[in-house]
């Protein structure tokens, strides 16, 4: 069977499971509560509640080291079952009673079989008819939107699903696999305390649905990307008044090539930072809704007070006020960003700040302010709680946290203690992009912008400037840096940048217009979007403003790109709002919004602005190796096999089988003597060899011939230390050595050692051993008993 097809099926499977468990199931559990809310609200509540629930049950059970499948399943169903029991009178008791009456009558022969069947089929027919009618109404009302949404979603799913290459898109994915697999062993923070939200969620699916971690971690990125994009649409729907104007931005972001393609690269991989992105916009949505609810509640309070009806008001203790509900949504969403990745929390904080400024009037209300402060404290406490408990229990912080702090400018004395994992994440998350598209990725835009050829150190002393000149110079400098950053890291062309820039004055003009039209709420949206865009741009170039760098420019620009096009929809929507107040025919402007969206889609398609999917092979693992990992895991019994390979497969197979590193394997027979022993105590042993080695983390070698060869095999075996033994030309040496070992061993054991899989770049050998009397793999294969101090070692030509 084609592995490409298998991968596609797995992506579909993971997507369906995630959607059913995280979106659909929470919706059904909360459907009474969500009744009457918009689809956007339903979606946001479901996804936030779903993720929060699964993450928390894994984290809380993980603290007491009980994370097995059955506990998780029982906990999952505890709430729905509890609710079903509690609400039995409304939910199912009536149905059961009615069914029982019919059954009893049938058993007592009061009703004939035909009559009973007629009752049953009549009921079934009614239900189906009703469902079809509802579906028909829904389709009639939403057909154009559905076409737009499903079209864009299909594109997103296709674009971010890599089905022709199979290796990891970021080197730290294997570290994440290692951590997730740690939960299998009852260890929650295997490598130290780290925001564990994504890991907890993936572990849940791994444990409950028996999906191999390697499949989840390699393929969940597509599902994650879909929900990141859909959440963006939900946010746009929340702030735009007309139905189709959100699709201007959504199409531009999800389908168009208006942004630098490198900004999308990380969406291919299942990374915590991107996982956290799903929960950033719900924070803003919740905050807006909170302020809106506070406003309504205050107005209602005022009205009731005026009418002296306050005594009829239901106490806040007896019902959840809308503002409280939204505040909890904010708390949980913010908490989820923190439990996923600190960077997402920073961005969520920035957007919340922008919203708070836009709604500044409400902030000054002490009661509201107090509630917000409490919410902030709780939002931090919830995700920090499991980490704090683990820390109190003696688990140290994970190394990459120190690295993150260092990026933020907070250094610590014992930097040297940073773990290898931290550095690997650092390297890899950078490199994750290079695997797909490296355009503009690693270019740091300096404070002087791209046209600042002259550096400060080499410049002659500048004459004293007046304050006005200084301000003017600062503004000029900031502007040029921002433009440079936007040109290089965000927008794909000057034209797109210009178009975006033109949206800004439109929005600025719309603000006073909205005030004139008493569209206070709408004006706040515009202010919020403008402020958020400015804040995000500043976050990308903090040096220019003399601010500390909170996160990498390359990372910050991903968030900036995610949010920056929001102004486009809001500008267009604002125009329609203004026009809608002049000619008060809503259907006309609704149609106008559809026409705008349709025209934009047409323009994007016809103008060749659809993003082109170009996916290179992984720079971390050969496709054949990933195919073999999957094939072997699927076919061979757990713990009965070992893979001998460089490094990537170690954590992929760790929960079910064994891994031996090539360098360790070869080291055992280096400087060969008769007494050397190299045993691997499993029935099956697989040897992964790259016939053409990859330049680990960078792709393919361009300056050397990376094919296995006698030349490379005759080089000294790299010392076993970290990743360096598999990086650069060391990897070619290691693979060449293993290749010639395999050739020699196959010559001696032709009936036992066979080729399991082979393509142009990769070969996998396997051997089946007698487990009682193991093969001694230590042999003299011609390159392991040489004196490397001698001058006979050839030089590379």
């Amino acid at each position: 069977m084609s592995f490409n097809f298998v991968t596609t099926v797995w992506i579909a499977k993971i997507f369906i499971i995630y959607t059913l468990m995280v979106v659909v199931l929470p919706y059904f559990v909360m459907r009474k509560f969500l009744q009457g809310r918009s689809i956007t609200q339903k979606f946001v509540f479901s996804i936030v509640a779903g993720n929060f629930f699964y993450i928390m049950i894994v984290l809380l059970w993980g603290l007491v080291h009980i994370t097995n499948r059955y506990v998780l399943i029982a906990t999952t169903f505890a709430i729905p079952v509890g609710m079903a029991v509690k609400g039995r009178k409304k939910l199912w008791e009536g149905h059961v009673r009615q069914t029982w009456i019919h059954l009893r009558r049938f058993i007592k022969r009061e009703n004939s079989f035909r009559y009973s069947m007629r009752i049953f089929f009549r009921w079934l027919g009614r239900e189906i008819k009703s469902a079809l009618r509802r579906l028909g109404i829904f389709l009639r009302k939403n057909i154009f939107e559905l076409i737009l949404f499903l079209g864009c979603s299909a594109f997103v799913m296709w674009y971010f699903s890599i089905t022709n290459h199979f290796g990891p898109r970021a080197s730290d994915l294997v570290v994440h696999m290692y951590w997730i697999n740690g939960v299998d062993d009852g260890i929650l923070y295997r490598a130290g305390i780290y925001p564990f939200g994504m890991h907890a969620l993936l572990y849940y699916f791994h444990a409950v649905f028996d999906i191999p971690t390697v499949r989840l971690v390699l393929l969940f990125g597509t599902v994650q990307a879909f929900y990141i994009f859909t959440m963006f649409l939900a946010f746009l729907k929340e702030i735009c008044r007309y139905r189709y104007t959100p699709y201007l931005t959504y199409v531009a972001f999800a389908v168009g090539s208006y942004l630098v393609s490198g900004r999308y690269a990380r969406y291919y991989a299942t990374l915590p930072q991107e996982f956290g992105m799903v929960f950033i916009l719900p924070c803003v949505i919740a905050l807006i809704r909170f302020f809106r609810a506070v406003r309504d509640e205050n107005a209602e309070y005022k009205r009731m007070k005026e009418q002296k009806l306050l005594y009829t008001r239901i106490d806040g203790k007896r019902r959840w006020r809308e503002s409280t509900i939204q505040l909890w949504l904010l708390i949980i969403s913010f908490g989820l960003t923190l439990s996923a990745h600190f960077y997402s929390t920073i961005i969520a904080g920035v957007l919340v700040l922008a919203a708070a400024v836009a709604y500044i009037r409400f902030i000054f209300n002490p009661k509201t302010f107090r509630r917000l402060v409490c919410a902030a404290v709780i939002a931090i406490m919830i995700p920090v709680f499991p980490m704090a408990v683990a820390f109190a229990g003696g688990t140290p912080l994970e190394g990459s946290l120190y690295w993150a702090l260092e990026v933020m400018g907070v250094s610590r004395s014992d930097e040297t203690e940073q773990s290898e994992d931290a550095s690997s994440e650092n390297t890899s998350e950078e490199n994750g992009n290079t695997a797909v598209d490296s355009s503009g990725e690693n270019t740091k835009v300096s404070a002087q912008g791209d046209n600042s050829g002259e550096t400060a150190s080499s410049e002659p002393a500048q004459p004293e400037l007046s304050l006005q000149e200084k301000i003017s110079q600062f503004v000029e400098n900031a502007k040029s840096t921002a433009v440079a950053m936007l040109t290089m890291l965000i927008f794909s062309s000057e034209g797109v940048l210009q178009a975006w820039v033109w949206c800004v004055p439109v929005l600025l003009v719309e603000i006073p217009l909205m005030w004139l039209l008493r569209e206070w709420e709408y004006s706040r949206y515009i202010i919020m979007i403008l402020l958020a865009s400015i804040f995000l741009i500043i976050l990308c170039i903090p040096d220019t403003f003399g601010l500390p760098s909170l996160l990498d420019q390359s990372r910050a620009s991903i968030y900036c790109a995610y949010f920056i096009l929001t102004g486009l929809s809001l500008a267009a929507d604002g125009v329609l709002v203004v026009l809608g107040r002049i000619i008060r025919v809503r259907a006309l402007w609704q149609f106008a919004s559809l026409a705008m969206a349709a025209a934009f889609v047409f323009y994007t398609a016809e103008g060749g602005y659809i993003r082109v999917k170009t996916v290179n092979s992984s720079s971390l693992e050969r496709d054949g190796a990933q195919l073999c990992v999957y094939d072997i895991m699927e076919k061979y019994p757990d713990e009965k096999w070992t893979i001998v390979s460089c490094n990537e497969e170690r954590n992929m197979v760790s929960p079910v089988a064994w891994h031996y590193e090539v360098c360790d394997f070869l080291e055992e027979m280096e400087n060969y003597s008769d007494d050397d022993e190299m045993y691997i105590p499993t029935q099956y042993v697989f040897f992964f060899i790259e016939k053409r080695s990859m330049d680990y983390s960078y792709g393919e070698f361009t300056d050397v011939d990376a094919e296995v060869s006698e030349y490379w095999a005759s080089q000294e075996l790299p010392p076993t230390s970290g990743l360096s033994q598999y990086s650069g030309t060391n990897r070619i040496i290691t693979n060449s050595r293993l290749y010639y070992w395999a050739q020699e061993y196959q010559k001696r054991f032709p009936n036992e050692m066979k080729v399991y899989y082979e393509d142009d770049d990769f070969v996998c050998y396997y051997i089946e051993q007698n487990e009682y009397y193991l093969n001694n793999f230590a042999i003299d294969y011609g390159y392991n008993s040489r004196d490397y101090t001698a001058s006979e070692v050839e030089t590379y030509d």
């Binding site: 069977m1 084609s2 073999c628 099956y684 010559k747 089946e768 007698n770």
Partner: protein, 606 residues
Amino acid sequence: MISRANYVAITLIMFVVLLMFQLTGISENVLMDTGENIYASEAVSEELAQNEKDRYEQQAEELYSENGTTDTVGLVGSESDECLTVGLQWCISQKKEYCYYSDLSEAAKDESGAGFLIVSGSSLESDEDTEALKDLAEQGRNVVVSGLPDTEILKENDDLRHSLGILEIEEDEITVEGFRLFAGLVIGGETIYEDYEQEMPYARLDDSVTAYAVAQSEEAWIQDLDNEDLPAIIWRYAPDEGKVYVVNGDYLTGQMGAGILTGFAADTEEVYVYPVVNAQVSVVENYPVMADENPEVMEREYGQNSSIVFRDILWPSIVAIFYDTDDAMTVTSSPRLNYEQGDELDESLLQFYYEQVTKESGEIGLSGYQVSDVPLEEKLTQDLQLFDEVLPDYEILTFQAGDLDKKEYEGLVGQGNLLSDVNTVLKDYDETDDGTFFSYLDNGVLQMPIYMDSRVMEDSDDFRSRCLQTAYGYYGTAVDTSKVLYPDSENDSWNIISNDWSKNYRPFRTPFECFEKTTASEADRRVRSYMALNYDTQFDGETLRIEADSADGDCYFVMRLHGNEITDMTGGTYEEIESGWYMVTVTEETAEITLSQTNHADYYIE
């Protein structure tokens, strides 16, 4: 009320049903009344038998070659070496060309010579031998070493030791209680023999070694060893393309060495095919005895006279065991065991036994065994008289010679002799016999060995059974009922005999169920065909082509595959015996077998 039409219909149906049931019984009785041996018509014709014998003898002569080729087996050393005798017989049975070399050096010099060499370990001592072993391995030629050289020589000669895959000689002689036989060398899977004591030198092995059998012992020092350091009994050393197979013991000096040699030969190739008989013969010796003999013992042990005991006690259990094991029944009757006393003999019992055995699709032969001392010819004459009186048309095809000397019966069986219809002689197995496993008497009567006692299955019996079934696909077992009449010990009571007989089947014989269960006459035909078979194989990496020239219908092969499996076959059928071993039946002149690698990635990248 029932209508007339219905009445007639019902009556007719009832009549038809009655007729059907009656006809079954009647036809059975008609068959019985013929008094003929149901296998007589299927027995090999005289002309075919002579043709097959001639072909076999011609082939055996032609297998000797002056100059070896890659496919030739090289017998290195003196022709009288026991292992070379075994090797020679193995070559003949597997239709392999063979040649002789005086020593390994001569073999190594003949670079295009025999690809599979057999040499006695005791003949290896010189540096030339060591050098020759290295050269042979480099040339990709395989050497079987029967027994280790003297340990003193091995200790002194590092190179010789290394060329045999030995790192160190730890002990000159140790006594081990048994051994663990790993799966793969012979058919039957992995097993542990706990009661197979032997003395052997303890050699610790080098890398590139695959052990086929390692010692088992309860002794503390052996228990403390790592598995890979256990004293090895049979191993393969792969220093290069050519392999050295070493047997640390005397397993290659007897008939069962053929099985081990087959295992070695099968290991040298990715696909190895060899002909087998495909027959399992189970004989009830000296049954029935129809005379009332040894009345004191019979009365004491069973409370009845012997003919009644044989009919009412033995026969039901024999039928039950054959029913349970699905073996084909062959009984070799000895109407009397004591011809000197002239005890009363119930002649009607012969008719009874004939009917019963025929119902079981079995066959009755004659046994040459007696407790008296009358000449064999006289005994057989008396027996034949009885058969002539009761079953005048019954052709006796099988003669049970047991441990009789060949000279005693050679002139009594076969065309023109007293037992003129007999073409099969069942003889007791002799491990040290230097003749071929199956052999012809001069007059074309075939001798087949019975190498198992159905009552006994010691570790050594099991190992022998595995080796011989691997080599020949033939199993010959018998239970002797004369012991019931003339017991030697308490264990010769029928309840113990039948219990031992029945309990041995499942654990020891089920791995070999692929071989067909036949009567002695059916096996005779297959053995003749096997011995006369001429075949050729070609393997192109994916398809194996077998061209078989069989004188008598289907022919059978065992195929040993390493890491491959059969996916398709034309010109015959196949059945998996166990992992890597297949039973192949070739029904046409040419058969083609398509193979594919067993373990491989199922997925591909588009």
